[in-house]
Symmetry: C2
Subunit: 241 residues, 2 copies
């Protein structure tokens, strides 16, 4: 009588943009689990506020480190690995005990999501099902009021955390572009967009589909850093009958 | 008393993967419209079978041409433009008459979708709202049983309709890859994957999230052509704690 672990994508933030399946699983869940930064309510948990069963048991998996240790430090991976193992032991025990567990995932679980770390560790041990979702970038280009791609445009999704040369090359090569994980990398991202002659077409979207959603040309924002839920788009210009 | 035109993304095919908002709009619609090839039931319309109001008025927009005229022929764009104009006149009249109209869109409307042609023609004339959706590629990587991207992977989405050199270059440059619009371009796509030394990692997904969903290594498929709902993925290999 083993249960199932569900990795449920919640989409970009607006609860009405959850899939019908995700909505059903979240509302019916006896056990939910979610990642969050210590001391925060957690974005995934916030999205489902008001939707949970009164008797739902919640398991908050609090990251031991996020930006305090640089990515390049070997301790970064060590600390995270250990954290994941502890969390996974708990989830595995619940499911082996016959419980279904819903892991709440911002965005789409298999698209730059934290759930992949759960999945890789548990998929061969217990039944795991993944529910895809609307990505944050879909909400961003919808908010921008223009299609991201036309005809045969090549769309590339790049992270602001990449080094400047790689970033510039990728921005140059793409017809349509999504830049995520920007934060304090904004000055570098700006330089790369400039070098690729695409800065004038770049659009900044903050909090797509959420309260406080804003859309403006990147050129009209003169800050040095951006909140986590920010995406820069450069729309494709392909064939259009 | 003008109405609103809703471009409603239906997602990859499984009706349970529609968003809660899309589900609500489709079930409540008095007027629906959708594109389809003449003589076919139409994929978008098929997804919502059984969901519509008994008194819903349906407007099927039947493509006058799809693959009969080559893309390079100037008549291709002319014929399509004329077709779009006729359809748009009808939709505009309905909305100006005070009706809300739901345009059914496969996948996500602003991601390589036909709805962008509706949107560009009507957005400055009548109120238009777009509901994003789960993309076919999200359903494909979910079906594949592995995350498409890790860490800082660059993900590129490319069309099989591109010329071989462009295709090869884009495949080489990306860490993670989605190839769509394959069809009769499969031999060319194979050559490009071979040239970029990624053929052995390519996974073929047909009918993701739909009846008949299949997942297999591309190397195990020896046909020359693929159905429309086929996606080839090459998963990223980025940093994983």
């Amino acid at each position: 009588m083993t249960g199932t672990l569900y990795g449920v994508g919640l989409g970009p933030g607006d609860p009405e943009l959850m899939s019908v399946r995700a909505d059903r699983l979240v509302r019916g869940a006896k056990h939910i689990a979610f990642f969050r930064k210590a001391g925060r309510s957690g974005r995934a948990r916030t999205i489902v506020e008001g939707m949970l069963r009164a008797d739902a048991a919640e398991f908050a998996m609090e990251y031991p480190v996020t930006t305090e240790i640089p990515l390049s430090d070997p301790r970064y991976n060590d600390v995270l690995s250990c954290f994941y193992t502890e969390c996974m032991d708990h989830l595995e025990a619940l499911v082996r005990g016959g419980e279904d567990v819903v892991v709440l995932c911002e965005g789409d679980p298999f698209f730059y999501g934290s759930f992949m770390h759960v999945y890789e560790r548990l998929k061969d041990k217990i039944p795991v099902q993944v529910v895809p979702a609307i990505t944050g970038m879909s909400a961003a280009w919808t908010a921008s009021g223009a299609p991201i791609t036309w005809g045969d445009d090549i769309l590339s999704t790049v992270m602001g955390t990449l080094n400047e040369q790689t970033l510039t090359k990728a921005i140059e090569a793409a017809d349509a572009l999504v830049i995520m994980k920007i934060g304090r990398n904004l000055p570098k991202v700006r330089r790369a967009l400039d070098a690729a002659c695409k800065a004038d077409r770049a659009v900044l979207i903050e909090y797509a589909s959420m309260d406080g959603e804003t859309v403006r040309p990147l050129a009209e924002f003169d800050g040095e850093t951006l909140p986590y839920f920010s995406i820069i788009l450069v729309h494709g210009q392909g064939r259009r009958p």
